[in-house]
């Protein structure tokens, strides 16, 4: 990919979008966040496994569409998660956790059809999500993320989010927050 001015302009725009999206989650504007998700959303977080050298491509991560992952779901399910939090009696998030989503190492991995007139952008980043819960509970989720964003007027829709969490046994009691 040629990294001319158009690349950096687009990257700037995408970064801005990702930061705003994170801000919606962290300020608990969950319904507004849902509006940023495409109707055909894929929301996927595999389980990572300890495998022999050389078997990583084949066996390290569970696969989308088969077996059991942490998340392998669509917008309907993510919407249910939001609705559940908003009931006020989902005790795993009641009282609400304090959450910060950090996004860094942003790179545009693929732009279609062109840098000048992009409709779909694949963007890679790192995430660091910190959750503080009730009094003493706190969890840190760090990993790699690949998003597919689709042009929606002067903003974007998230069509695909893949979260590669750097953990094997999950070192948290719950994944009750949104990533």
């Amino acid at each position: 990919m040629k990294k001319g001015l158009a690349y950096f302009e687009l990257k700037q725009e995408i970064e801005e979008f990702l930061y705003q999206e994170a801000d919606l989650l962290d300020t608990r504007k969950f319904r507004e966040w849902l509006d940023l998700l495409a109707e055909d959303l894929v929301y996927f977080m595999p389980i990572r496994r300890n495998v022999k050298f050389g078997e990583h491509d084949e066996r390290e991560n569970t696969r989308q569409g088969e077996g059991i992952s942490w998340f392998d779901e669509d917008k309907w399910t993510v919407t249910k998660r939001v609705e559940q939090i908003l009931t006020g009696v989902h005790y795993a998030e009641e009282p609400l956790s304090r959450v910060t989503h950090m996004v860094s190492n942003v790179r545009l991995l693929d732009v279609k059809p062109s840098m000048e007139d992009p409709d779909e952008v694949t963007v890679g980043c790192r995430f660091l999500v910190f959750q503080s819960r009730v009094e003493y509970e706190h969890y840190t989720f760090i990993g790699r993320r690949t998003d597919v964003l689709r042009r929606n007027g002067d903003s974007w829709l998230i069509a695909r989010r893949e979260l590669i969490l750097e953990q094997n046994v999950l070192l948290a009691k719950n994944l009750s927050i949104l990533f």
Binding site: R49, E66, S69, E73, N168, L175
Partner: protein, 439 residues
């Protein structure tokens, strides 16, 4: 610590490091424990690393097809011989000094054996430590460290009536399940809070109100978190003398199929077919539909929706490592495996909309029971205490309303392990006659 007459249990058993240490020594070294499933190791050389109590073990199939469970620790200086979760190998080669073991546990390779050990090291004596008892029950693998442990089916006792329906095919053929994935996670709670929840604590339903409000059942209906096929039947809560306990439903002979996964006609049709085929095969036995249960001490199950076995590994007095094995019929069509797995994921485990609330409850029940004053006040297990048993509904202590009888029974047996009782006592041989006499 357990007062059966009063129906109380000291909080100490959920928080005390000393109680925890004794459990590891007296309970987890004797009871049969769930290790894994045959479908995880189909071929010679296949292995899956698991846990029993606080110890790592390897479940593997040797090159003649035999199944073994070994302690995952080198006999030389203790290194874990296998740190891959699953795979296939001819030898377990220890990373530390390269001793190697065959898949049937024999010590094979000892570097510089002739020059450094000749005549002094008997390789036959230094194989991997193998469990004393191992059982393959319809594909589920269980093991015990106690050579005196009774046969698995004696120990499982009449709980088999319920457990069979968890691990058998949906159409009633014996066995035939497949593990499609394993969740592993840790949470800061005592393992017994989780185990007793699955004994049939239906009383905690209000804590899942939020999922019922938004509706995420298998058929994605509002107002439910499951397709309720138990509604037309008699729910029972059952405790067995070996400590197992569960809640199931007995539906009438003429009950019709409850549509499930309704927005997926192929899946709905599969379960419809299985429902009637199961009735045809099993007759009256098909009237029993398992909901949840705990096979003593720490192997809990969901019988139908979702379907799986969850092991609550003790990790410390106030920490548990949970492993959930999700099950489907191995020979089911692809769509029938795909749709339920999505339901399993949104229901179960740390990302499960239902079970997240359980983890929250167990964590803070543990945390709030640690205090000096809190420990002076035991927990209440008095529900349905004066209730007569419904003896016409089979063996065991059967209740037809929600009850703490099942956890009381669980802790009665737990106490017997903690007192180092003999196997007659651990199997509760005295319990059934005693109950009958009291009637």
């Amino acid at each position: 610590m357990i007062n059966l007459a009063a129906g109380t249990v000291d909080r100490e058993i959920f928080t005390s490091p000393d109680v925890h240490r004794q459990e590891l020594e007296k309970l987890f070294t004797r009871s049969w424990l769930f290790v894994g499933h045959e479908s995880q190791i189909p071929k010679p050389g296949d292995f899956f690393v698991s846990r029993m109590g606080d110890g790592p073990v390897i479940l593997c199939r040797d090159d003649r097809g035999g199944i073994h469970v070994f302690l995952n620790s080198c006999r030389h200086r203790g290194m874990k011989v296998c740190r891959y979760e699953h795979g296939n190998t001819a030898l377990f080669v220890c990373p530390y000094h390269s001793w190697s073991y065959t898949t049937d546990g024999k010590l094979q390779g000892v570097p510089q054996y002739r020059t450094l050990y000749a005549g002094t090291l008997n390789r036959d004596e230094w194989g991997l430590v193998e469990v004393a008892r191992m059982a393959n029950y319809k594909g589920t693998i269980w093991a015990s460290w106690d050579p005196e442990a009774p046969d698995f089916l004696n120990w499982l006792g009449d709980a088999v009536d319920h457990f069979d329906h968890v691990i058998d095919c949906r159409d009633g053929r014996p066995g035939g399940a497949e593990v499609i994935g394993v969740h592993k996670w840790v949470f800061p709670s005592n393992w017994k809070f989780a185990a007793e929840n699955f004994l049939g604590d239906s009383y905690h339903n209000p804590s899942h109100r939020s999922v019922d409000m938004v509706g995420m059942s298998a058929s994605a209906q509002a107002g439910q978190r499951r397709d309720n096929e138990y509604a037309k039947g008699q729910r029972v809560w059952v405790g067995y003398p070996q400590g197992h306990g569960m809640t199931s439903g007995y539906v009438p002979d003429d009950v019709e199929y409850t549509p499930t996964y309704q927005q997926y006609p192929e899946v709905d049709e599969y379960f419809r077919h299985c429902f009637y085929e199961r009735k045809r095969r099993l007759g009256e036995r098909a009237n029993l539909l398992p909901l949840v249960g705990t096979i003593f001490p720490n192997a809990s199950y969901h019988g139908r929706q979702p379907r799986g076995i969850c092991v609550w590994h003790p990790h410390g007095p106030t920490e548990t490592e949970a492993w959930r094995f999700f099950l489907v019929d191995a020979d089911a069509p692809a769509a029938v495996k795909d749709v339920p797995r999505r339901y399993y994921m949104r229901y179960s485990g740390p990302a499960g909309m239902t079970e997240q609330d359980d983890m929250e409850n167990w964590l803070y029940a543990t945390a709030a029971s640690k205090g000096t004053i809190a420990k002076r006040y035991p927990l209440n297990y008095q529900m349905s205490m004066k209730l007569p048993n419904a003896t016409h509904l089979g063996p065991g202590e059967v209740a037809t309303q929600m009850t703490d009888q099942t956890p009381r029974n669980f802790y009665r047996v737990w106490q017997r392990y903690m007192s180092g009782d003999n196997w007659d006592s651990l199997l509760g041989r005295d319990i059934q006659p005693m109950l009958r006499a009291a009637e």
